[in-house]
Symmetry: C2
Subunit: 452 residues, 2 copies
């Protein structure tokens, strides 16, 4: 197999692949708003079929999973790609320079909601498949795609789907949905993902809003109930106050810390990128910043809503209030126990009136940095990116890698085309076209080397 | 002066007055949204001019004041009517049975935003003027109207306007913007109003929202900063925790308490009306419920906003958060001191990052229950309402009565056409037409007796 033929194909057919990506981005698929999910799943399935994959759109109880499979020359080796076709909500819309679902190409970048997270990963991997088929008429090994539609809303139904479809999904290794280069342009290998337990807390204290002049002294106020309840969850020291929350945590290893020791200080980049003046807990950077970022459980208020939120003043005592709360969890913690502890805590603190709804999540999982598949992905990256891929033991973000690691028993490697200003989950999400081609080149090499 | 002639006029010309009211309600005048203020002021001035009042639309620095004056037979006596043409925001719109700015008549009630608070009080008083002019060709005494446009947003500019226009506004007594009957159909005389200090608290922790997986452990979160800051303002015991907040309070008198002792228990009505199961602080009803309702300072969260508030989940760490907070204040407390204490408290608690914006308010004030003008208003009400008007020393709501009581030195009497289900500040605000006519009859009698 000649990589130069493959690389030439990828350079000369880029416009076609980007056109396909634009088509995919133009199809909204906002899971949180249940917008366009079926349509997007069909579109993705059609893209797989076009490459000769046998495809299925499989029900999960939520948004369907798109599954595709194509045999290769070496039928004894199977590589599984995990991607997702759902995207984050595009709000706040007024901060987008061009409309989020009208992909826009400017200065070598393509902008649009979901263009980075995760639609470009779908099309760039299909682009690698195209190049391999063009070069050899066949794929070097068996390839499977599992492309889900609930990643951005916590992959609520994926773990059960995987347990129920272990045969179908059987493979020898997995390439994860994301990856990319850091601000030094060095490709990064992220070996683990924090877990997440996302809940909505809400409270209703009256049938209707009350004039605050009447009710202020004598009627319960939903906004106050919510504020007081939230305040019991985490103190200004950033410690989560829910009894037992830290009990089952498996602490990071010396190897984890050593891998972070090799990383350059992230502090200047973070401050510049997000306009943050200081980090929490007196952190200034270095390994401690990394270790805190990824190995500590969090309790993040993602949203608050109650009463009057318009301009000026309105003297109303709100009957309803709610908060979206994102708990990141670390190895050892489980969703079931976290939900139980949270409910017990709220009740014990006198907040049995606070309703709790689980909106999705799953536990944390890590792949062994010394797995041979990790070495393969790292080695193949070097030629493409012209620098050595570096290992990161864990990232602070979440994804459903737990069932891949612990149910399918796969080494899970990250590889992708992200970069620090990709703005996933934020307005003006974008990808760089140069990295799009590099990722396709990398994936073609992974498939070839893996098949040997 | 024959009251029967006046009453006949008011019964036979009701449709014309309601048509005028509908025209006024159809003109939005939402102060908080700066919507339609100039247009509404012009409309109100035109209505005064039609009755031969000399009128002025006077700048205040905010929404203008409409002033009108017409001399009467007894030029030695002047009655001042205080009303407002601004209304509360109509949100939440989906809870209205008919659109808020399309007045709708059903079952003897007129529905619309501002129909009760306060536009019907303007037109029903003009209706009384019409009846008096019809009966006698002249008014029995001098009549002045001050109709402001910032009552619902805290009457920010009215106190200074009054101080600057003491000559123009000089009078012997004042009829306040509101009043009405309670659930027993008994007309009530509200002698005082709590003060209000309305602020917006807001905080910004980053330039842009951050992915919560990255930022959760290491970046400050605006929503958390706000929750923690709010939590320091008031505890679950409902005590305001700002040092010095209660220091200057002039406690209610034995007479205040004795007046409430005469009132029936409000508890059953409140529970039914608002769907509230329990009152705060273990209150069950009776005089204690009243005393707490009106003579205690409050700290009410009227609104909370931060981050993602749509359906489902979004994993974002909000860069901005804000709350609308309504402090009701009682006799002895001043706006200046409250704002100073609040800022000092936030700073002392480590929340100098919380920005504070004063959105309006003024101190509390009461009229002496034994003032002869109060007796006149009470006595004239009895014939119209066929029951004795009862005295309430103070209400929990607020209004700018302080400069009327303490700058213009007027006894301020309340009289109006409100009733318990009038839904001021809430969806489906409405008035009863029978009370509309009764209020006009009452006002005609007040003017006649006052002129003697």
């Amino acid at each position: 197999m000649s990589y130069s033929k493959i690389d030439t194909y990828l350079q000369t057919h880029l416009d076609e692949s980007i056109a396909e990506l634009c088509q995919l981005v133009a199809q909204p698929s906002v899971g949180a708003q249940n917008w366009g999910m079926e349509e997007c799943a069909s579109l993705v399935a059609g893209m797989l079929q076009k490459r000769g994959f046998s495809t299925e759109i499989l029900p999960t109880g939520g948004a369907p999973v798109v599954f595709g499979e194509r045999k290769g020359r070496n039928t004894a080796k199977t590589l599984l790609f995990y991607c997702h076709y759902d995207v984050q909500p595009a709000e706040p819309l007024d901060l987008w320079e061009t409309p989020p679902f009208e992909p826009s190409l400017r200065d070598g970048k393509l902008y649009g909601r979901g263009v980075s997270d995760d639609k470009s990963h779908i099309t760039s991997r299909l682009f690698a498949v195209d190049a391999l088929l063009d070069a050899d008429g066949e794929l070097p090994c068996n390839v499977k795609f599992i492309i889900e539609g609930e990643e951005e809303t916590g992959s609520l139904h994926l773990p059960k789907f995987i347990t129920a479809n272990k045969e179908k999904l059987a493979a020898d290794a997995c390439i994860w949905e994301f990856g990319g280069v850091d601000h030094r342009e060095i490709p990064m290998q992220y070996l683990g993902l924090r877990g997440i337990c996302y809940v909505q807390l809400s409270v209703e204290t009256a049938a209707i809003d009350v004039h605050s002049g009447l009710g202020g002294s004598i009627f319960p106020n939903a906004a106050w109930r919510l504020v007081w309840a939230l305040n019991t969850l985490k103190g200004q020291d950033e410690k989560i106050r829910i009894p037992g929350w830290y009990d089952d945590i498996v602490p990071p290893t010396a190897r984890d810390r050593a891998l972070f020791d090799l990383q350059p200080d992230a502090a200047p980049e973070y401050k510049k990128m997000y306009g943050v003046k200081e980090f929490l807990k007196g952190l200034t950077g270095g390994t401690d910043l990394y270790m805190t970022e990824v190995f500590e459980p969090t309790c993040t208020i993602c949203g608050l809503t109650s009463g009057y939120q318009g301009a000026g003043s309105k003297t109303v005592l709100p009957a309803k209030a709610s908060a979206k709360v994102d708990f990141r969890i670390v190895p050892g913690q489980t969703i079931e126990k976290c939900l139980t502890l949270l409910r017990q805590h709220l009740d014990a603190e006198g907040f049995s009136d606070i309703q709790m709804e689980f909106l999705g999540g799953g536990p944390a999982a890590k792949t062994n940095p010394d797995d041979p598949f990790i070495k393969l992905v790292v080695d193949t990256a070097e030629e493409v990116f012209e620098s050595k891929m570096e290992l990161v033991p864990m990232v602070g973000g979440s994804g459903p890698n737990y069932p891949f690691v612990h149910e399918l028993n796969l080494p899970v490697a990250t590889a992708g085309l992200g970069y620090p200003d990709t703005r996933a989950h934020a307005p003006n999400e974008n990808i760089r076209l140069d990295l799009y081609v590099k990722h396709a080149r990398h994936m073609a090499r992974v498939l070839v080397e893996f098949s040997k």
